[in-house]
Amino acid sequence: MAAITLKNIVKKYGDGFPAVNDVSIDIADGEFVILVGPSGCGKSTILRMIVGLEDITSGELMIGGQRANDKAPRDRNLAMVFQNYALYPHLTVFENIAFPLRLAKGKHQEEDVQRLVTEAAAMLELTDHLQRKPANLSGGQRQRVAMGRAIVRQADAFLFDEPLSNLDAKLRGQMRSEISQMQRRLATTSVYVTHDQTEAMTLGDRVAVLKKGELQQIASPRELYEQPVNLFVAGFIGSPSMNFLPASLEGNILSTAIGDIEISPEKADKARDRPVILVGVRPEFFEDASLVEEHKLHHGSTFTAELTHTEWLGNEQYGYINFDPAPEVREMLNSLARDMDADELRPQVVVTLDAASKIRGGRPAELWLDTRRLHLFDPKTGENLTLDAEEGARLTAEANAERAEEIESARQVAAG
């Protein structure tokens, strides 16, 4: 068990391009931190610097309070699960799991090795496969062997490099919950790299969002979702992603391409004196106005728009509204899309409607928008103008308290 601290970490390659630029993250003992971002954002590089497979150009890496910049990987006592498992094909499952124990010469008696491997295998339901070779295992089983190799020794931290990306969707969900439970049971500090935001949101105590080697925001999943610091984080987290509508503000009225929206004076005050602002609205902030309960109506604003089409999914339905942005706004939306790995951000608003809604495409419809939750962004800097830092801190503190509680109860279960 150890805390990991990254202080102003920079990684530059031969051409001087900073793959990771001035990243500082404090990872508490027992915490599960996710590094997430589009490809090329430096998340894997950070992980590989922590484990010692990449040199750190500048900055300081502390593991368990000790400077680890120049330590060899084997001296850091970290365990890593690789994307394509990196199992030793010439060894049986048993020997694969026992590999780290056998390397630590003299530390473990043969009986210890037997016992530790058998325990790890039992925990991962691999007992029946111990004598098989990795080539004969399914993807999920290989994944478990890779995890077995990580948990068999008392590593100070687990590092995961996109461990689930080679699995099919169903297995991924299952392994995700297994990893989550295992981490809670062992309460081992974990750093997990992924580009899948579902994994990021469900697994992490805190999620660090990276873009082009720079840390954008590190916070609990709820804080990221509800109080994103900038356009990038807001657009990257959430699926379907947040809608960005160009708007101009007059008084307390935002006039947008899909209609006028009235917002609270406090929100409006934070965004005054800008010719254009971007309104960030998550799809679920919308609702069919006829289905909104009376007492909620006044929290939002009602407007009329025409949906192009709707998609009914059973539990909810998605509606789509097209709009035609000004060229400079369109350019900005496209560059935002490029940052997030998408080809093009279509000038389209996605709205989530109740499954019972009778709204259909092609006809004007009354929509209600919960204006309490929308965010206003500066289109130039991308900064979130309506960020409520206090609320965000509260959400993250809440998540931390929950984590402590879960670890405590897992310990009690293990003890009792």
Binding site: V51, L53, R74, A79, N84, A86, P89, F99, A135, R153
Partner: protein, 280 residues
Amino acid sequence: MTSGKQKIIWSGIAVLVLIYALFPVASILSTSFKAPSDLTSGKFLPSSGASTLENYQQILVGDAQGLFLSALRNSIGIALIATVIAVVLATLCAYAIARLDFPGKKIVLTTALAVSIFPVISIVTPLFNLWRNIGLYDTWLGLIIPYLSLTLPISIWTLAAFFRQIPWELEQAAQVDGATTWQAFRKAIVPLAAPGVFTTAIIAFFIAWNDFVYGISLTSTESARTVPAALAFFTGASQFEAPTGAISAAAIIVTIPVVLLVLLFQRQIVSGLTQGAVKG
């Protein structure tokens, strides 16, 4: 799964191929036991009672002994040395090609390919003159060098293809698991690379072992003549007698090490050709 009918068809095909491939070998084997008078009998097997070890005696302890045994020694020595040099050089070269990015990587591979498709017969005459001038004619080295030109390209290609498949991430995984750089290489990479190197060595050995054109053209005496070339110098007991029996016996003897090698190492060869599939 293959049904019963399919199995029968496949077995039938296998038997046909085996007969096609092994009939000449069987024919030579039976000829090697025939007495000179029996050679033209037109029968496959030696006539009853006439089966003889005379041919083997002739080449191992008899008249042809000097010719054959020295040739055997030359063949083994030259083929082994050529194989060892080729495999060592090819391993280094293929490792660089598979793992490093350097300018001219493509050129190395294309050159190797170009060399290997060059017809041997077109080089042998200039080589003959050159070797005579610089004193390499009729020496071991004089054969080892041209053999390298045959064995190196194919070794480089097979090993490069093989090394590319090795998941080098394993080296890093082993380091994270607590291995030193050397331990990581020895425990994670060598066991994976060994079958490939081994397979390549066997292929290279066969190429050198089987060569005839260089063997006959670049040698003149027992000091470097290899077995395939020596066979052409066998003579019968009189000028009216063909040395067919002795040649057959010698052919059988030089086939034995090849067959033994394949039988002994077939598991390594097969796993060398199939291992490397790690990802799922």
